[in-house]
Amino acid sequence: MIGGTDVLIPTQAGVAALDACVRAIQSEWPQVVFEDALTGACFEAHECVSMQEPSEVLAYRDQNAAQAWDERGAADELRNTMIHVLTAPGQMTLVVDDPTSPSMRRIVALLKRELRADALNVPAQRQEDD
Protein backbone atom coordinates (compact mmCIF):
# COMPACT_ATOMS: atom_id res chain seq x y z
CA MET A 1 0.00 0.00 0.00
CA ILE A 2 1.18 3.47 -0.87
CA GLY A 3 2.26 5.31 2.26
CA GLY A 4 2.29 8.91 3.40
CA THR A 5 -0.15 11.75 3.70
CA ASP A 6 -0.18 14.42 1.00
CA VAL A 7 -0.39 17.98 2.33
CA LEU A 8 -1.38 20.30 -0.52
CA ILE A 9 -0.43 23.96 -0.40
CA PRO A 10 -1.66 26.22 -3.21
CA THR A 11 1.01 28.72 -4.26
CA GLN A 12 2.02 30.73 -7.30
CA ALA A 13 5.51 31.32 -5.95
CA GLY A 14 7.16 28.65 -8.13
CA VAL A 15 10.76 27.90 -7.26
CA ALA A 16 10.60 30.55 -4.53
CA ALA A 17 8.10 28.29 -2.78
CA LEU A 18 10.57 25.44 -2.90
CA ASP A 19 13.21 27.73 -1.43
CA ALA A 20 10.82 28.69 1.38
CA CYS A 21 10.02 25.03 1.97
CA VAL A 22 13.67 24.03 2.16
CA ARG A 23 14.33 26.81 4.68
CA ALA A 24 11.30 25.81 6.77
CA ILE A 25 12.46 22.21 6.93
CA GLN A 26 16.01 23.24 7.77
CA SER A 27 14.80 25.37 10.66
CA GLU A 28 13.17 22.27 12.16
CA TRP A 29 15.90 19.81 11.16
CA PRO A 30 19.30 21.58 11.36
CA GLN A 31 21.11 18.44 10.15
CA VAL A 32 18.77 17.95 7.19
CA VAL A 33 20.04 16.23 4.04
CA PHE A 34 18.40 17.28 0.76
CA GLU A 35 18.29 15.02 -2.30
CA ASP A 36 16.92 15.69 -5.78
CA ALA A 37 14.46 12.78 -6.02
CA LEU A 38 14.80 12.53 -9.79
CA THR A 39 18.59 12.50 -10.07
CA GLY A 40 19.69 11.26 -6.64
CA ALA A 41 22.03 14.23 -6.26
CA CYS A 42 22.38 15.73 -2.79
CA PHE A 43 22.44 19.51 -2.51
CA GLU A 44 22.70 22.35 -0.04
CA ALA A 45 19.64 24.39 0.89
CA HIS A 46 20.68 27.48 -1.08
CA GLU A 47 21.13 25.45 -4.27
CA CYS A 48 17.43 24.69 -4.69
CA VAL A 49 16.89 28.08 -6.34
CA SER A 50 18.49 26.68 -9.49
CA MET A 51 15.91 23.88 -9.71
CA GLN A 52 13.13 23.98 -12.27
CA GLU A 53 9.44 23.30 -11.93
CA PRO A 54 8.19 20.64 -11.63
CA SER A 55 10.69 19.16 -9.25
CA GLU A 56 10.85 16.70 -6.40
CA VAL A 57 12.98 16.92 -3.29
CA LEU A 58 13.54 14.35 -0.55
CA ALA A 59 14.45 15.96 2.79
CA TYR A 60 15.87 13.60 5.43
CA ARG A 61 16.12 14.59 9.10
CA ASP A 62 19.85 13.76 9.12
CA GLN A 63 22.47 11.61 7.43
CA ASN A 64 21.45 8.49 9.40
CA ALA A 65 17.87 8.85 8.24
CA ALA A 66 19.02 9.36 4.65
CA GLN A 67 21.06 6.16 4.77
CA ALA A 68 18.25 4.18 6.40
CA TRP A 69 15.70 5.33 3.80
CA ASP A 70 18.11 4.39 1.06
CA GLU A 71 18.52 0.88 2.46
CA ARG A 72 14.97 0.13 3.56
CA GLY A 73 12.56 2.58 1.96
CA ALA A 74 9.54 3.34 4.12
CA ALA A 75 9.62 1.61 7.50
CA ASP A 76 7.78 2.13 10.79
CA GLU A 77 11.01 3.08 12.58
CA LEU A 78 11.58 5.85 10.04
CA ARG A 79 8.28 7.61 10.49
CA ASN A 80 8.55 11.39 10.22
CA THR A 81 12.22 11.33 9.26
CA MET A 82 11.73 12.18 5.58
CA ILE A 83 9.59 14.74 3.77
CA HIS A 84 8.93 14.38 0.04
CA VAL A 85 8.35 17.77 -1.56
CA LEU A 86 6.80 18.06 -5.02
CA THR A 87 6.38 21.35 -6.83
CA ALA A 88 4.15 22.03 -9.79
CA PRO A 89 2.59 25.16 -11.24
CA GLY A 90 0.05 26.46 -8.74
CA GLN A 91 0.74 24.07 -5.91
CA MET A 92 3.23 22.41 -3.64
CA THR A 93 2.77 18.98 -2.07
CA LEU A 94 4.47 17.82 1.10
CA VAL A 95 4.28 14.06 1.65
CA VAL A 96 4.74 13.19 5.31
CA ASP A 97 3.97 10.22 7.54
CA ASP A 98 2.01 11.98 10.25
CA PRO A 99 0.89 15.56 9.53
CA THR A 100 -0.37 15.91 13.11
CA SER A 101 3.05 15.38 14.68
CA PRO A 102 4.43 18.56 16.29
CA SER A 103 7.47 18.82 14.01
CA MET A 104 5.43 18.37 10.81
CA ARG A 105 2.87 20.90 12.01
CA ARG A 106 5.61 23.43 12.73
CA ILE A 107 7.15 22.95 9.29
CA VAL A 108 3.82 23.30 7.46
CA ALA A 109 2.83 26.33 9.54
CA LEU A 110 6.16 28.05 8.94
CA LEU A 111 5.99 27.31 5.22
CA LYS A 112 2.47 28.71 4.93
CA ARG A 113 3.55 31.82 6.83
CA GLU A 114 6.55 32.30 4.52
CA LEU A 115 4.46 31.82 1.40
CA ARG A 116 1.90 34.29 2.66
CA ALA A 117 4.69 36.81 3.25
CA ASP A 118 6.05 36.18 -0.25
CA ALA A 119 2.61 36.69 -1.73
CA LEU A 120 2.39 40.06 0.01
CA ASN A 121 5.71 41.06 -1.57
CA VAL A 122 4.45 40.58 -5.13
CA PRO A 123 3.92 44.02 -6.69
CA ALA A 124 0.34 44.78 -7.62
CA GLN A 125 -0.27 44.82 -11.37
CA ARG A 126 -2.04 47.73 -12.97
CA GLN A 127 -5.28 46.78 -14.57
CA GLU A 128 -5.37 48.02 -18.16
CA ASP A 129 -8.45 49.90 -19.29
CA ASP A 130 -10.23 48.60 -22.37
Binding site: I2, A37, P54, L58, W69, A74, A75, L86, T87, M92
Partner: protein, 73 residues
Protein backbone atom coordinates in the same frame (compact mmCIF):
# COMPACT_ATOMS: atom_id res chain seq x y z
CA UNK B 1 -1.24 8.80 -17.45
CA UNK B 2 2.39 8.17 -16.57
CA UNK B 3 3.34 5.72 -13.88
CA UNK B 4 6.93 5.23 -12.81
CA UNK B 5 8.79 2.45 -14.64
CA UNK B 6 10.60 -0.25 -12.61
CA UNK B 7 13.96 1.36 -13.34
CA UNK B 8 12.96 4.62 -11.60
CA UNK B 9 15.54 6.04 -9.23
CA UNK B 10 14.30 6.34 -5.63
CA UNK B 11 11.20 4.32 -6.50
CA UNK B 12 10.47 3.06 -2.97
CA UNK B 13 10.99 6.50 -1.46
CA UNK B 14 8.79 8.27 -4.01
CA UNK B 15 6.02 5.72 -3.47
CA UNK B 16 6.76 5.69 0.26
CA UNK B 17 6.75 1.92 0.51
CA UNK B 18 9.28 -0.57 1.93
CA UNK B 19 12.07 -1.21 -0.54
CA UNK B 20 11.42 -4.94 -0.45
CA UNK B 21 8.00 -4.30 -2.00
CA UNK B 22 9.64 -3.02 -5.16
CA UNK B 23 11.24 -6.40 -5.82
CA UNK B 24 8.48 -7.57 -8.15
CA UNK B 25 6.76 -5.67 -10.96
CA UNK B 26 3.45 -6.28 -12.71
CA UNK B 27 2.71 -4.16 -15.80
CA UNK B 28 -0.69 -3.82 -17.45
CA UNK B 29 -2.42 -1.65 -20.02
CA UNK B 30 -4.29 1.38 -18.72
CA UNK B 31 -7.97 1.80 -19.57
CA UNK B 32 -8.36 5.13 -17.76
CA UNK B 33 -10.40 3.91 -14.81
CA UNK B 34 -7.84 4.52 -12.07
CA UNK B 35 -7.88 7.70 -9.99
CA UNK B 36 -4.84 9.94 -9.57
CA UNK B 37 -3.77 10.60 -6.01
CA UNK B 38 -4.62 14.21 -5.07
CA UNK B 39 -1.56 16.46 -5.19
CA UNK B 40 1.81 16.17 -6.86
CA UNK B 41 2.05 12.40 -6.56
CA UNK B 42 -1.06 12.15 -8.73
CA UNK B 43 1.28 12.60 -11.69
CA UNK B 44 2.49 9.04 -11.17
CA UNK B 45 0.36 7.27 -8.54
CA UNK B 46 -3.11 6.01 -9.47
CA UNK B 47 -5.46 3.93 -7.37
CA UNK B 48 -8.78 2.13 -7.20
CA UNK B 49 -11.09 2.36 -4.22
CA UNK B 50 -12.11 -1.28 -4.72
CA UNK B 51 -10.31 -4.50 -5.52
CA UNK B 52 -8.93 -4.06 -9.03
CA UNK B 53 -9.18 -6.91 -11.49
CA UNK B 54 -6.83 -6.85 -14.48
CA UNK B 55 -8.13 -8.94 -17.35
CA UNK B 56 -5.55 -11.23 -18.93
CA UNK B 57 -5.74 -9.32 -22.22
CA UNK B 58 -4.35 -6.23 -20.40
CA UNK B 59 -1.48 -8.02 -18.70
CA UNK B 60 1.82 -7.08 -20.31
CA UNK B 61 4.71 -8.40 -18.28
CA UNK B 62 5.57 -9.39 -14.72
CA UNK B 63 8.58 -10.67 -12.80
CA UNK B 64 11.53 -9.50 -10.75
CA UNK B 65 11.89 -5.75 -11.01
CA UNK B 66 15.30 -5.82 -12.69
CA UNK B 67 14.10 -8.34 -15.29
CA UNK B 68 11.01 -6.33 -16.11
CA UNK B 69 13.06 -3.13 -16.32
CA UNK B 70 15.43 -4.78 -18.80
CA UNK B 71 12.60 -6.08 -20.94
CA UNK B 72 10.85 -2.72 -21.01
CA UNK B 73 14.05 -0.86 -21.92
Amino acid sequence: MGTLPPSTRNLAKRLRIPREKTGFAFCFTDVGDLLPLPGGRGEFIFYSEDDYVVDESRQVIHGPRETVAEQLA
